[in-house]
């Protein structure tokens, strides 16, 4: 599901490379070079140290459902927190699945979903 129209994300100078990667079909997240830890959303500083020693790194696109809900809107959709295999939890939507088919802990993989006139956004589907 997810018939709704998805607002185009508005990139800023710091996040443009992240969204460019999405256009190319890849999910990248932040990595702190000082601690080696991954973080999300990406930004120009490390949320762990505040240092600018950060990089964008590709991830597997695999994860598990940490939590979710079903917005009972006119066109229902499934907001969720997905825990990436690399560690960080991402606020996203689950697609290609009915609400009754979702379980916390289930394995999901990346689906880049088109938006209204902007880069695609990272959502997840079972598998």
């Amino acid at each position: 599901m997810s018939e709704r129209t998805i607002q185009a994300p508005i990139p800023d100078p710091t996040t443009a490379p992240f969204w460019d990667a999405c256009r190319e079909g890849r999910l990248m997240i932040g990595r702190c070079k000082d601690t080696g830890r991954h973080f999300f959303p990406p930004r120009g500083v490390s949320p762990f140290t505040l240092s600018p020693h950060v990089e964008l790194v590709p991830v597997s696109g695999r994860g598990t459902v940490y939590s979710y809900t079903v917005m009972r809107a006119k066109e229902p959709y499934i907001p969720a927190m997905v825990e990436l295999a690399e560690g960080p939890r991402v606020f996203t939507n689950l697609v290609d699945v009915a609400p009754e088919g979702v379980r916390i802990g289930m394995a999901v993989t990346l689906r880049l979903v088109p938006t209204e006139g902007g880069p695609p956004v990272p959502m997840f589907a079972p598998g």
């Binding site: 959303p41 949320p47 979710y68 917005m71 916390i104």
Partner: protein, 390 residues
């Protein structure tokens, strides 16, 4: 420096309106300011500190301070942590008074989301490109209801919490609201009615959600010597605590809130424990908000909130922890989508012995008020107050 005993709440006023189509937001600020100062037995010329949050029209406190005619101000603060702002304002006012920066602080809140037709809980707002999280979250259809629902879903998964247990929170609020002539929802509801109401964001039903209302409220905080010179019962600030909780780079645990930190700080400053609290005002944007905060504040163990709130334990005269005896945000009102102000006001009423007789807690000497502002499942502010009748 400890703030314990450094200031007192001497005036409190809740606007009776729930739909203010014929009033401006500035006028509502003025009416609650007048009400709180009348309650205290003070005038605007006594006010030398003014506090409002970032939603007040104009830049910070400037426009509303002018509208109110506050011309003796020497301390202002427009800290905005959403609905919890007003509890933080009481703490900041107490600190300012302790430092000699002001003697009498006025705190106001007003808004009219109901008249303006806001779909507060279920609408996704437009992106603000300057807010760093918007581009990642707004396209995902972020809503207020979803942000709290994801916390409820995870809590149920980890601890076995049920919809019926959450419903007891609404049931308790409705038992209190039946005695409040101003409450939007005065009808007593049952657990069955809550769980059979339509789902808004699974697992939260319509009756798990607070109301949308216009209105506002105000508080007056003063130096203890001033408080003792007035005719009203004295309510002393004993403990204060604040905290922020965020996604922290993607490592957010949705089963707890900033109350874990703000509550601990407030209890430490007050030198009391949860067992000493006779009445609690607990932020109730949704039923799950109450349950998670009760655990984090230490009224029960993490994960035990479902059992704690069940079977009427929050109903005054029935359970061990009477909460939100005005009906709270779930039944009474949620002015400007910011429920922290009314949380403090009802705690003051309880400590003064001025709550409705049907819900007044006997010998209510020590109360707690707690607020969560922002989005529980994303980023939020927490503020806790412990107040004592002196």
């Amino acid at each position: 420096m400890s703030l314990n005993g450094k200031a007192c709440i001497v005036g409190a006023y809740e606007h009776p309106t729930r739909k203010a189509e014929d009033k401006s937001v500035a006028q509502l600020h003025a009416e609650v300011a007048w009400g709180a100062l009348q309650d205290a037995g003070l005038t605007k010329d006594d006010v030398d500190g003014y506090f409002c949050a970032g939603d007040a029209p104009g830049m910070g406190p400037l426009s509303i301070a002018e509208y109110l005619g506050l011309d003796r101000l020497r301390h202002v603060d427009s800290t905005d942590i959403g609905g919890s702002s007003y509890l933080a304002h009481v703490a900041h006012a107490t600190a300012a008074i302790a430092l000699g920066r002001c003697n009498v602080a006025l705190i106001t809140l007003a808004g009219r989301p109901r008249s303006e037709g806001q779909a507060t809980g279920t609408a996704t707002r437009a992106q603000n490109p300057a807010i760093p999280d918007d581009q990642f979250e707004i396209p995902m259809g972020r809503t207020v209801a979803a942000a709290y629902a994801m916390c409820a879903m995870r809590h149920m998964h980890e601890f076995g919490t049920t919809s019926e247990q959450l419903a007891w929170i609404k049931v308790a609020a409705s038992h209190h609201a039946q005695h409040n002539p101003h409450a939007m929802l005065k009808k007593v509801v049952t657990v069955e009615e809550v769980v059979n109401s339509p789902l808004v964001a699974d697992p939260l039903h319509r009756l798990d959600c607070c109301v949308i209302s216009d209105g506002g409220g105000a508080l007056v905080v003063a130096r203890p010597e001033i408080a003792r010179s007035l005719k009203r019962p004295v309510v002393t600030v004993r403990g204060t605590g604040e905290a922020l909780k965020t996604h922290a780079g993607g490592y957010n645990d949705l089963t707890f809130s900033g109350a874990r930190y703000s509550g601990a700080r407030a209890f430490e400053e007050a030198g009391v424990t949860p067992a000493d609290i006779r009445y609690a005002s607990i932020y109730d944007s949704f039923t799950i908000t109450v349950l998670i905060q009760l655990e984090d504040l230490g009224f029960c163990a993490k994960g035990a909130g479902g059992r704690f709130v069940a079977d009427g334990n929050l109903i005054s005269g029935v359970g061990k922890l009477p909460f939100n005896t005005d009906g709270g945000g779930l039944c009474n009102n949620h002015p400007a989508n910011r429920g922290g102000m009314t949380k403090v006001i009802e705690a003051v009423r309880q400590l003064r012995g001025e709550a409705h007789p049907a819900v007044q807690v006997k010998d209510c000497a020590l109360a707690l008020a707690h607020g969560t502002g922002g989005l529980l499942g994303h980023r939020h502010g927490s503020a806790t107050l412990i107040l004592e009748r002196s």
